[in-house]
């Protein structure tokens, strides 16, 4: 895990919290906001996972 991963973590957290807040908000019919930010949270979680996926340096192909 390096800085690339840790910089995406707050994005996932903020978007998830916001999605939840909009899903529970009793005003303005803002469920669309919840869907979009919720989708974004899941997407960036997956992208953060891709940042963790790494072959060890000693097994890297030459070049």
């Amino acid at each position: 895990m390096n800085e690339d991963f840790w910089l995406i973590v707050p994005v996932v957290a903020v978007w998830a919290l916001l999605g939840l807040a909009y899903a529970l908000a009793p005003w303005g019919d803002m469920i669309g906001y919840a869907w979009v930010w919720g989708f974004g949270s899941v997407l960036f979680l997956a992208l953060a996972g891709l940042l963790l996926w790494r072959r060890p340096p000693d097994s890297a192909p030459p070049g």
Partner: protein, 551 residues
Amino acid sequence: MGSTYKERFAALPARDRRLLVAMSAAALGMLLLGIVGGLLTALARGGLIDILPNTGYRLLTLHGVSIFFYWLFIAQAALLLGFAAVEQGRGLLRRGLAWLGFALMLAGFGASMAGAHIGVPLLYDGAPGLGALTPSGLLVFNLGYLLLGMGLLVLPAAAIVTLLTPRWEGRQDRLSAVGFALFAWAGFLMVSGFAALYTFLPGTLWALGLGAFPENHGTNWHIVFHNMHYLPLMATVILWYVLVQALTGVKSVFGERFSKIVFAMYLVFVPPTSLYHMFLEPDLPGAVRVTGSLLSLFVSVPTLTAFLIIIASLEIHARGQGGRGLFGWLRVLPWRHPAMSALAVAVLSMGLGIVFAFVLIQERLAPLLSDTFFVPGYFHFFTVGTVSLTLLAALAVMLPALGGRPLWRPGLLRWMPWLVFVGLLVFGAAGVAAGYLGVPRRVIDVAYQGQAPMLWQGLMLAIAIGGAVMASALAVMAAGVAASLWRGRVPVPASAGLTVDWGGGTPAPGVAAWMGPLSVLIIVAAMYLFTALGFELMQWLPVTASGGGGH
């Protein structure tokens, strides 16, 4: 791998170059089409040409759809793929996904254009209420945005795979600042694609007889709109960062990690600030309005921080090249390259855009100004002056390197951004003034059978003249950049003399860089001034505007 962007683009495989050229050509064509639509609309509003109101709305639809959705996003997609492909110097991976995404976007453009010519003109937000009498038009129009959304979901995956493969293969420990920025940009493009699907699917299903009428389209539109106008701003700042490196060789003096933090800040700050779009909703509780107002203050924090990094880095290096005085360092910048002029105008336009954006998003002013000409008056500083000129600047760097043809008449093109800016200042000043005076937007004839104040028509005439200057200069700039789409017969000389390379020098310690902080200070002071002016005018004038659907 070459050390400069020019060398790296020139070394891309032919298959990558074909894709990037095709996408750039499509984007520039859409820009030119949208400029024609915008120019005719402005002339009609100014009373310089006489067209039926319905034709005017159709032209306005053509303008907004072509530029705001397709030019901005296909150009972004092309530049994302291009800079991702050269980031590791190994070309694009999963190219099939990129072609598929591009094909979906092109098909979307065709459908959107067809939809704009069927039934009632829907304007760029495709409000189902307008299309209720002609569901077939709404169906075709929405199909365009759905295809665009699908394209935006698919295409960035190619950039992500390209950026991360060296890491997966254990050849890279961490992304560069540019690589991280491209990675974040790609993710945000995908989220925006999803937002477009979420917003326009209900109307499509209704038009097909498969769903209920989408009563809440206005609320859903706000969220796609929020994404669709912040994403180009994020792209703009990333491209400034890359272009400064391409034109001068200068990298951030604050280090790669700090740049990554700023790019990540975009993604952290953008969602919470979306609340201000709801200020026009009558049932929004007071506490939520206050919260939205406070959150909206954060909206430009990442943009201004990135601006400070770039300007400070540039100023420090320029002073190392002999630049003296508060403004004297600007003289040593590579002004012979049209991209440098475009960047300068983009920065100035962004400053003005931010000032007026902060006036508009205040809870008390938003309902009064949102349906007036204030909105197009201020947002052209962003869409034209800031984003479009930045995208053109990036294409002016990428396309000549891809095609091996020198940039067409750089001595002429470098003046076009300034001419755009002159037109924009006239258009923006008249537009903002018209908004303060209550002139409605989206109305082709504001004379109201002679009942409207005389000043309104005078301001519309100024808007038409400013718009004509802005559109003409932008069209010349776009056409000039498009000339690089044709592959050159003779390779471009190693140094065309348009750029400088200050990257090798280490800036002397203790060099002061005042331009960035001073600019932010001026922006804050101007925000205060125009907000106070807005309140004063609204209290004194008998004409008031009430918000309906937001922007």
